[in-house]
Point group: C2
Chain length 608, copies 2
């Protein structure tokens, strides 16, 4: 559901944005690249983010009364992190974040280094008979003075009396948000790490990040340990249907993989688990359900309802993740049952739905996840593509591993690019398939309806003898024992047709055409290998200039890293579900109509 | 530190109270017995507690904007649970809690049955393709409609998909505050229990409460399993100094005792752990430290700093307490290192610091905990009494068990009341000691300075031959082999002198005398057995009419039960540390001066 948007203007920059009601002035400013000063993470405890409201009111909240003088409040000053927008407003910002440390991440996004995990070194006053505050009150008061709120659980409390006294009350408080993660002896502010995980159905990527510098300390990817239970999401869910033990098995498999990655990251970097205070995790909805041991069964059948879609923050020890024993796991929210936190990460990394440029972000896989829009309005959907792009259901299809054809060039002869270089082709993977079909179209060996020409129709074509008959079906020979059949072409048509339709439905809702699109972003590892030209030729993506089709790589993982390094960006991610409208395709008549019409390939003269 | 108080008047009742700045209108009203309507527990989600502010402003908070129409806000309507008092105010209350279910508890306190644990039966709409909300969003929306906020942890999430579907989406949500404790199939609102624990150094009392009826389902008390590690707080702390394993040993001992009590309560009542969703626990500061496995060492030496004093809420499974696996433990806050949550419970149960009557609440034990005041101002302190009242350090002293003299009457002969009835006296316990000394004073066998008369000074006294000499020290024979020595009298003088001084210091700070006191309340089990007349004669309590000296029994446990049955009362308990000033006696020159002056017994003609 789209909400009525409200207009906010920031002075002296004279920058205006439109936001859903209830957004804070702080968050809306960050959304358009105006990082208002703050140290507390927008929790109303540091008082640094105050702005003066000039037009449109904002009532003073409790935190305002604590942080501001009555005269300031009367004069319109408010903490921007507390002031929610319920009418059009103008405010004056006295102080942006000064010389922020920043890192370029994702798609050229400048991310302010302002992690959710913060270390604060404190020289506490020692207790006396005149000052008998409890340890936790003493710490809390000192943190409040520095502008930080704090909540301490019993597990950290347990360590407090001893650490305080051994350290002579010179300690470092480690905060994740306002949760006290640890109290460390002396000044340990130099060492502060977190880990970003992209939990894919096939592959897990872990990146250990230095939260002080914003640099990766170590990166590792490995296969998801759930692989023995099936290659795709549906087979994993099916295994989970065997009961709670099966779900636990799947959970242990993925946590085990994460811990294996962590062990290697620690070994490689010399960082310890005790210095790693937070994990930001993205993944599709099923993967996150299994990560937490939650039954994903209802995801596999209509009406596809997840147990949860919002962001979750839990203590790492709840699932046995090997970071600091009181550290936290933070997930990003999902937009729909099949548009998960990985896509939200991608949106965060690319800035789609946040800039004026109209862009479509497509993550091609078993499902094509699509986000279309700009700062004014954005839509998301998932199109069921089937397994063709993963090389499945394709006669000679295979995953993108050594021996797979990943690129095809047809001229007088067939030129192949095979993964592993100088090895014989064993099969064809998704990107090779797209390339091959595009080249077959260009070469005139395939017609727009997707039918192979007969060899006798193209007797002069140098490759006409590669058109063969396999089990009564036409096929094209790519290499010794590797060929594409007519059915393979049909599979691809269905897959690309589904995604193309998804894009078209969203474009129709938004009332835009391919001409209006500034960019087409291809996410995921498949997107990185896909030849943009070929994707365009087969009609997988809308017909825009090829240089506007951009592979954005592992944008999900980039999003997780960004959320790890910046609480402001994390907040943006949390808000995405309320900013991006989710469109369910199944059951939509325009989807079915459109689907039929885009099964065919675009006529080449119409592809710019 | 005392804060400037602000005045609030509630119409149409025309009731006025004075509160510390920042108190909510909701809480201040409850404090003076005006229970404003509400179902959400003052969390700003039900909207029922709205009042109209007539004098003195209150800014509209986020929750106001969610629950009230703009016209209402403009007209001064505010959610009283969100409106904090920062200036003198008058407001109009449209709706008190209608015919509240209530129970009389503690010292004649009418407690509204409004437990923190609530069960809400919901018939959820089943998901459809048009309504793909996640399970947790579906639940949250339904609860919001009923006026309840909700936060769900991962452990409850795990149970959600299956319970929803097995129950055909007819479920009961169990909330503790806004934490979702459980989702139960069908309507289980009929069965809802909690447990109140008073964790004493010597004895633990557990009461299983039916949260629907407010009645106790079963009660049990048993010795604290920490007994083998020493009889008093200091010896427990000493054992804990042996290291983390020793602290864990102490923790396991007390948790073990609580679980033993629970097992018996369940057996006795037929209630199951799965139906018991919350435990409210009171105890002295050391006991609560050990309960959570927190090192109490700093409590045993100046400057006596606890690790924590505020209320704590943790999941029961964190310490292995056998209630619902996702149930919560809630403790009450402490006022000082030696004025713990048990005393806060007592204050809650007696209403001290809350009514206009000026009262002093005294819990006599190794420490005498003292709270003096009324709704205008209240003070608390702990006076180190030593072990005399526990029968320790007394030649023939013993605990209050079978064979102990607990009452003494001196006339022509000695009349004794012995615990166990028809058994020979084996020694004397605290209440017997107080009685004996008071009777010796009345009989003229002891002078006001505390010195025994010589037999030859009172030759005509019928009991003069009971004044004997033991190892060169004067003594009085109470029974065969049971006597009080001159040193015993001195021990008692020090003990009662310390407590009397504590009371006097507080009375001096408040500027009141015994004449101003409306009541003297004696808390704890010792207080129940103490003869008020004797307590007055020896000068342990201020000289007020005997019928104004009231034994209030296990007020700590009553306080825990009240906090279990009423979230409003719980909130009052949480606010007590900011309402009651803590006075540290050690190091105060007036304490030392006063102490010397009250060592003597009051002259009888001065005792009214």
């Amino acid at each position: 559901m789209i909400q009525r948007k409200l207009e906010v203007t920031y002075l002296p920059f004279d920058r205006t944005t439109r936001v859903p009601p209830g957004t804070t002035l702080f968050s809306a400013a960050h959304w358009i690249g105006l990082p208002i000063d703050s140290t507390c993470g927008g929790r109303g405890t540091c008082g640094k983010c105050k702005v003066r409201v000039i037009r449109g009111g904002a009532d003073a909240e409790t935190a305002d009364h604590r942080q501001l003088r009555p005269a300031e409040i009367a004069d319109g000053w408010r903490l921007s992190c507390q002031a929610r927008i319920y009418q059009d407003m103008t405010c004056e910002v006295p102080q942006l974040l000064r010389v922020p440390k920043a890192a370029t991440m994702g798609l050229g996004r400048l991310v302010i280094l302002d992690p959710n995990v913060r270390k604060v070194y404190l020289e506490l006053r020692e207790p006396t008979m005149e000052d008998q505050r409890s340890d936790v009150a003493r710490l809390k008061d000192a943190l409040t003075e520095e502008g930080h709120g704090m909540v301490a659980g019993v597990s950290v409390l347990r360590t407090m009396p001893q650490v305080f006294r051994e350290a002579g009350f010179r300690v470092t408080a480690v905060l994740a948000g306002e949760h006290l993660v640890a109290i460390e002896s002396g000044d340990t502010t130099g060492e502060c790490y977190g880990v970003a995980f992209d939990v894919g159905t096939t592959t897990l990527v872990g990146t250990l990040m230095n939260l002080r510098t914003g640099m990766a300390a170590s990166v590792l990817s490995t296969l998801n340990g759930q692989a023995p239970f099936g290659a795709d999401v549906i087979s994993r869910i099916s295994h989970g249907m065997n009961g709670p033990e099966a779900i636990q098995e799947l959970q242990e498999a993925v946590i085990g993989t994460m811990n294996t990655i962590l062990a290697e990251l620690y070994r490689d970097s010399g960082v310890s688990p005790q210095q790693t205070y937070e994990a930001v995790v993205v993944g599709n909805v099923t993967m996150l359900h299994l990560l937490f041991g939650i039954d994903p069964t209802p995801l596999s059948m209509a009406p596809f309802t997840p147990a949860f879609m919002d962001e979750l923050s839990i203590e790492a020890r709840e699932v046995g993740l090997q970071i600091h024993p009181h550290g936290y796991i933070q997930t990003l929210p999902a937009l729909g049952a099949y548009v998960g936190a990985d896509i939200v990460g991608g949106v965060l990394a690319t800035g789609v739905a946040r800039e004026d440029k109209l862009r479509v972000f497509v993550d091609v896989g078993t499902n094509g996840e699509i986000v279309l829009g700009n700062a004014q309005r954005a839509l998301a959907t998932a199109a069921p593509a089937g397994p063709a792009f993963e090389g499945s259901q394709i006669k000679c299809g295979m995953r993108a591993t050594v021996g797979a054809i990943e690129g095809v060039q047809l001229g007088d002869r067939v030129e192949l690019q095979v993964i592993g270089g100088d090895v014989p082709a064993e099969g064809i993977c998704g990107s090779g398939l797209v390339d091959a079909v595009a080249q077959l179209l260009l070469a005139g060996l395939l017609d727009y309806s997707g039918r192979f020409k007969k060899p006798e129709d193209v007797p002069d074509h140098p490759l006409h003898d590669r058109l063969i008959d396999v089990d009564g079906m036409r096929a094209f020979v790519l290499a010794d024992g590797v060929y594409l059949t007519q059915r393979d072409i049909r599979e691809l048509q269905f897959a690309k047709g589904s995604i193309a339709t998804g894009i078209k439905v969203l474009m129709d809702i938004l009332g835009v055409t391919a001409k209006d699109l500034d960019e087409v972003l291809l996410g995921g590892s498949f997107g990185s290998y896909l030849n943009p030209e070929s994707a365009k030729i087969i009609g997988l993506v809308p017909p825009v200039d090829v240089d506007r089709i951009i592979a954005v790589g592992n944008s999900a993982g980039e999003g997780a890293k960004i959320a790890l390094l910046s609480y402001r960006e994390r907040q943006v991610a949390f808000e995405l579900p309320s900013r991006i409208e989710y469109v369910e395709l199944s059951g939509r008549s325009d989807f079915n109509d459109s689907f039929i019409s885009v099964l065919a390939f675009p006529q080449l003269e119409h592809v710019p």
